[in-house]
């Protein structure tokens, strides 16, 4: 799966995630699935991590509901979520995998471990034979 995000939307995620340190930041992504099998992010939602810690995140369900309604009214499809790892690499942790329950979603993880070199990756997570399997998706920022 190829996932495309604009430099502008990437910039919004990065700026928000930096502003929320030391806490993890989070949000949703929306857009459309293309006929060629790729998906294009057309809007990013910067939402509240109600855990307010640097160790985990939970998206505020009220804000999540508002975002879903906004997507619907703008003809956008929910494509997944994003969150930051302020102090760890851009890869799903065990807890990320355990709580990733939508096999159709793309999970974007922004590492701020090296502040001067933030890393954003996209992942697909699904359960196969009772085990969570992770596949890295190709992320294009353009």
């Amino acid at each position: 799966m190829i996932v495309k995000i604009s430099k502008s939307d990437y910039g919004k995620i990065l700026e928000y995630a930096l502003s929320q340190r030391p806490d993890e930041a989070c949000g949703l992504i929306a857009g459309e699935d293309k006929e060629d099998g790729s998906r294009e992010i057309k809007k990013v939602y910067l939402l509240t991590n109600i855990d307010h810690t640097n160790e985990h995140f939970s998206i505020d369900p009220k804000e999540q509901l508002g975002a879903i309604k906004d997507m619907r009214s703008n003809g956008l499809k929910p494509l997944g979520n994003w969150h930051s790892h302020p102090e760890s690499p851009s890869r799903p942790s065990e807890e990320d995998k355990r709580l990733a329950n939508d096999s159709k979603a793309s999970y974007l993880i922004l590492s701020l471990e090296d502040e001067n070199n933030p890393v954003l990756n996209a992942f697909h997570v699904e359960t196969v034979d009772g085990e969570k399997t992770v596949r890295k998706e190709e992320l294009i920022i353009s």
């Binding site: 369900p61 009220k62 942790s93 329950n101």
Partner: protein
Amino acid sequence: MKITVAGERKEYDEGLTVSKLIEIENVETPEYVTVSVNEEFIGSDTFESHVLKEGDEVEFLYFMGGGR
């Protein structure tokens, strides 16, 4: 009666509970689902007893979280 589920207006039988709606709609991993009715979140302990009524607007939200 007509209920709007995830933005789509549909016809259901009277007396429909949230639990039954989750079953009818084949909601995946229902243990991770949060339900709102008319923008009010309802507790999972009331899914069995909460009877929906004409015109209700229901949304299923998946808990989204993780950790480092």
